[in-house]
């Protein structure tokens, strides 16, 4: 991919106008290019061994534990089988995998998603409502306190209010001619099913998911950022298959992201009057590329499961 970087940079210069039209929010609202070799040296969060053995260190470790084992550590707030660390690899440390150190320093920030200035606590609450298909932990409660402490510690020494290289997921250009669900299904069978199962159901060890479910009742809901095909393609291209990030072609990442997001999943908790159409108009029509409210294989997507 790196050989194409200069072309991609030129391309990136040419797209801001188009990007503004899409009026994306959340990760897609963030101005980021594709992987940039000039910024290969990313911010380095501190090592776990440097954590002090005191109350602060314990709170940070509690935050880390919630982050990697969310369902067991914050069960009241989690409504699916996911953990924060499923989408934020290396426990939220990895550059280009939406690292916490690059997010923490950008809040408070305005978000189109709820049309107000959000604190970091509110941003975390959003993750629980949508990505975790659960409910928002209290802003002044122990879960947000621990996750905030963990994020703050990871960001030790990072400048505030500056977009750090490695933030979010590097965008992947949509293939010419768009995405193809049938091709996505082929990529899924060849590359993803060994871990995530033939039907996106994930795999468990005992009662705990080891490989997260990608669609269905135990996955993220229709309000999560990952339901956008562009966001999912960016994540997949960078980080999947686990440990082999960057091995899929751009178009393969798009096809398989679209395939994943062409399946039913838990309802958008913001649903208006039980109407997929109204909810689509208000929340999904201008939210990147997504299939909410579209009909795939004769089925209207978005009703929830």
């Amino acid at each position: 991919m790196r050989t194409h970087t200069s072309a991609l940079l030129l391309f990136a210069l040419a797209i801001p106008a188009h990007a503004a039209d899409i009026a994306m929010e959340d990760q897609s609202q963030i101005r980021i290019g594709t992987a940039d070799p000039a910024s290969r040296t990313y911010f380095q969060p501190p090592q776990e061994s440097e954590l002090p053995d005191n109350a602060f260190g314990k709170l940070v470790q509690e935050g880390r534990a919630i982050f990697v084992d969310t369902k067991n550590r914050a069960p009241e707030y989690v409504g699916n089988g996911l953990a924060c660390a499923n989408c934020h690899l290396e426990q939220g440390r990895k550059a280009n995998s939406a690292p916490l150190w690059a997010a923490y320093t950008m809040y408070p920030a305005y978000r189109k998603k709820n049309d107000k200035v959000n604190t970091y606590a509110e941003r975390l609450q959003g993750c629980f409502q949508f990505s975790m298909n659960g409910k928002a932990p209290e802003a002044d409660g122990p879960v947000i306190a621990a996750l905030s402490a963990y994020s703050y510690w990871l960001a030790t020494g990072a400048p505030t209010a500056q977009e750090l290289p490695g933030r979010a997921y590097p965008q992947v250009p949509e293939p010419e001619g768009g995405y193809d669900l049938a091709k996505g299904q082929q990529v899924y069978a060849a590359q993803c099913a060994v871990c995530h199962g033939n039907n996106g159901e994930g795999q468990k060890s005992g009662t705990d998911y080891v490989f997260p479910p990608l669609w269905g009742a135990d996955s993220f809901n229709w309000g999560a950022g990952m339901h956008r095909i562009n966001t999912a393609a960016a994540f997949i291209k960078e980080s999947m298959p686990l440990g082999k990030g960057g091995s899929l072609l751009d178009e393969e990442a798009w096809h398989v992201a679209a395939f994943m997001n062409s399946h039913e999943r838990p309802q958008d908790p913001r649903m208006i009057d039980g109407s997929v159409e109204k909810t689509r108009d208000k929340y999904h029509a201008n939210d990147g590329v997504n299939l909410y409210g579209e009909t795939v294989d004769g089925k209207l997507l978005g009703k929830g499961i």
């Binding site: 990697v68 084992d69 060994v194 871990c195 060890s205 080891v210 440990g243 082999k244």
Partner: protein
């Protein structure tokens, strides 16, 4: 046993004994009908617990599908091992089915399910619970499950295996003599590990268990 096949086997038993009649205990203890299919027990132990000093793996409690795939890959050479190649090639499909199913039903090692929430100390445990992401090496437990207990049919247990066996496999992947993992998922990891890391992570998982060949 493949449960759905039982009624059929019952019906056919009288007319075609040989095809369905592989006795897993006999195959395990005495070998297959073809004498080249030597008895499993000689190397894998009376309870299929493996033989740590020689690096022969535990088979008790592994997924039957996983073991069937390994036998097929031994036969084809995707997983190179001169002893197992001739044995796997000599086992009939019925014998392989029967013996792997019997072995899968044996007890798994009972280990503490240590996951990523735990503190990680030392080289082996750090790899197991934190990975080495600067080299795109995921946490071992992120695929093999907490405590390395194994997940499904493609991610075998690490707990219960000896350090000798685990390190020999990592080395085999690194050298390309074992290449039967899906999409090189394990190969690329093994190639990224140092000698010291291979030793340390093998010892970590081997020492997690108090049953089987790990000790």
């Amino acid at each position: 046993m493949n449960v759905s096949r039982w009624p059929l086997a019952g019906l056919l038993l009288a007319i075609s004994v040989s095809a369905q009649a592989a006795d897993p205990t006999a195959v395990y203890g005495k070998g297959g009908a073809n004498t080249a299919a030597m008895a499993c027990v000689t190397c894998h132990g009376a309870e299929a617990e493996g033989m740590a000093a020689a690096g022969f793996p535990r088979l008790a409690g592994l997924s039957a599908v996983y073991m069937q795939r390994q036998l097929a890959d031994f036969a084809s050479g995707e997983r190179a091992n001169p002893i197992m190649q001739s044995i796997a090639a000599a086992l009939s499909p019925e014998e392989a089915d029967a013996v792997t199913t019997m072995l899968a039903n044996k007890p798994r090692p009972d280990v503490e399910r240590i996951g990523r929430t735990a503190a990680a100390q030392g080289l082996g445990e750090t790899l197991a619970l934190r990975g080495a992401w600067e080299r795109n090496i995921p946490e071992c437990v992120s695929c093999h499950g907490p405590g390395g207990v194994g997940v499904g049919d493609s991610f075998p247990p690490l707990a219960g295996q000896s350090a000798q066996y685990l390190s020999s496999q990592l080395i085999a992947w690194r050298q390309g003599t074992r290449k039967n993992d899906p999409n090189d998922l394990m190969g690329h990891i093994a190639r990224g590990l140092t000698e010291d890391e291979i030793k340390a992570v093998s010892a970590y998982f081997a020492n997690l268990t108090d049953t089987g060949a790990g000790r």
